[in-house]
């Protein structure tokens, strides 16, 4: 048990920069300390979309960029004994594990050990309608709702068990995001699962790192106000954790981005509600006494973390087939653009009403008011500012009937001939929607299993 352990992050979401892990691993190797690397690639809906992929192809349904993410770094991590953990198994961890095995064999690493964590997928194992709803979005008729996926956010223990059994790569589906950092720390330092102070340290470490570049300058930089070096090459974060409970957050060497008190504060509060109760499966983190100190360039020390006992329940997020979403856009530009845009918006809504299409719709005037606006267009309707040089008009329509939604979106296309003078650049599409519900379930009802095998064994 060495005094300092490094935790690096290689991805903060599905869709992150695929070349980001390379400088992280280079830094971990150069530092020569015991270390682990984790990938967080599973958003709230990602597992449901992955489940739909798996229905189409039984060997799909895991992180689509997995091979691209791992190929440049797998050999270096294996040679330097830096385990890799990820929830990149998404809806199909066994298939992801097989992909890692094939990749390892291709790279000449047949002895690479792959740990597979199962149990998060509770579809068909837990009757959801017996559980109280924790969080909900959209409206859903549970009598007719068709379930796509149901996964529990599992904690760090099975991940740590896979490491204890020698896994070089741990493939999981739904886990809590911080668990991916807690597991290698608990394994390395031998933390007890009721040492709330230590687990709080791990949870804070995971929370600060789980979104990758968000703690090193991503979604932080604001040109001329909060500038960062080389935003095209933001370095991903690395945490230094000591046996005594020290935590310093830093980042990959020779990269852009910045890590300072400002970036750490933004990420510490990201997606947090009550700062005294950040609930994870392993510990409830309390940051009300937390203090930060700049401990050198791109280094911030985090102190004063408090841990409360882990909850008796786990969060289960279930995804259901939702309605259809149709979207269409056209542009106007030049003199009188705002008046033409407003008239276009009104005509689109009139057309939907005239045709009696069973959809819920909204119009945005992109460039005037859209993302901050309401469905009723409160902001663009009341806009009295300067004339914009161009405006993009967007229609969004939602409904249960795909054909009606498609017809609504096509009303935007029809503007190419029927619209105001100088209307152009039409695009339209129809996509299925996913609805989610979260439930709380007693953790005893979500047993997990761990299996570990070499790439050679797995390929056989």
């Amino acid at each position: 048990m060495s005094g300092t352990f490094l935790v690096g992050n290689g991805a903060g979401f599905s869709g992150d920069r695929v070349d980001a892990p390379i400088p992280v691993v280079r830094t971990l190797v150069r530092r020569g300390l015991p270390a682990a690397l984790f990938f967080e690639t599973l958003g709230e809906r990602t597992v449901a979309l992955a489940q739909l992929e798996r229905r189409r192809d039984p060997e799909a349904g895991y992180e689509p960029m997995l091979e691209r993410l791992l190929e440049p770094i797998l050999e270096a991590c294996f040679r330097h004994r830096i385990p890799i953990l990820g929830n990149f198994g998404a809806a199909n961890p066994p298939a992801a594990a097989r992909l890692v095995a094939r990749l390892a064999l291709r790279l000449g690493l047949p002895d690479l050990r792959i740990g597979l964590v199962a149990g998060d997928d509770v579809m068909g194992r837990i009757a959801l309608d017996q559980l109280p709803v924790h969080e909900a979005d959209g409206s859903l008729d549970m009598r007719t709702a068709r379930l796509v996926a149901a996964n529990a956010y599992i904690g760090a223990r099975p991940l740590a068990e896979a490491l204890a059994r020698g896994a070089d790569v741990v493939v999981a589906g739904r886990t809590s995001d911080p668990a991916l950092a807690i597991a290698p720390l608990a394994h390395h330092f031998g933390w007890a699962w009721d040492d709330w102070e230590k687990l709080a340290l791990g949870a804070a470490c995971g929370h600060l790192l789980e979104c990758g570049s968000q703690v090193t300058g991503g979604v932080f930089w604001d040109p001329g106000v909060k500038d960062i070096p080389d935003p095209a090459d933001i370095g991903f974060p690395i945490a230094e954790v000591t046996a005594a409970g020290g935590l310093i957050v830093t980042k990959a060497e020779d990269t852009g981005g910045v890590l300072d008190l400002r970036t750490v504060k933004e990420q510490l509060l990201y997606e947090l509600h009550d700062p005294a109760r950040y609930v994870t499966p392993d510990v409830v983190l309390d940051i009300t006494e937390c203090t930060l100190e700049q401990a050198g360039r791109d280094r911030v020390a985090v102190r004063g973390l408090i841990g409360h006992p882990a909850p008796e329940t786990l969060k289960v997020t279930a995804s259901f087939e939702g309605s259809w979403l149709g979207e269409g856009e056209v542009s106007v530009a030049g003199p009188n653009a705002l008046a033409r845009a407003r008239a276009t918006a009104d005509v689109l809504l009139q057309r939907l009403e005239r045709r009696g299409l069973p959809v819920r719709a909204r119009v945005d005037l992109i460039g005037v008011a859209s993302v901050h606006d309401s469905d009723a267009g409160a902001l663009w309707r009341s806009y009295r500012g300067p004339e914009p040089p161009e405006v993009r008009i967007r229609l969004a329509a939602e409904g249960a009937d795909r054909d009606a939604v498609d017809q609504a979106a096509r009303e935007v296309l029809a503007l190419l001939c029927c619209g105001t003078a100088g209307t152009g650049g039409a695009r339209w599409r129809v996509t299925p929607r996913i609805l989610t519900r979260s439930y709380l379930v007693l953790r005893e009802r979500v047993p997990t299993t761990v299996s570990v095998a070499t790439a050679r064994e797995m390929a056989a």
Partner: protein, 121 residues
Amino acid sequence: MSGSPSGAEGGLVEVPLHVLAHSRAGDKGNRLNLSLIPYRPELYPILAEQVTEARVLALFRHRGATRCTRYDLPRLGAFNFVVDDVLEGGVNGSLNLDGHGKTHSFRLLSLTVRVPGALAP
């Protein structure tokens, strides 16, 4: 938002939060959290007094927001606002281009406050 025009008034100037503080938005379901982090510690009590739950809720009334709770973190030098029912159904139900509400940190930063001229950049 405050109806008072910009400019000096009794040694105070009215400025948007954007020049005094930074913010990040995060979502969970139909709920949004917005951090507010002043650049200078002297600004903390001023923002605590002027950036009230009621003013932040008013920023999002047009979207149907029902409640705003502010958590103060003086040791960290930050505030955390939690706004309920602001995401028009949340990322999966909303018709908004930004269903996550990530852009709303800059709606908060457009709110104006009155500060002594020496504290305004």
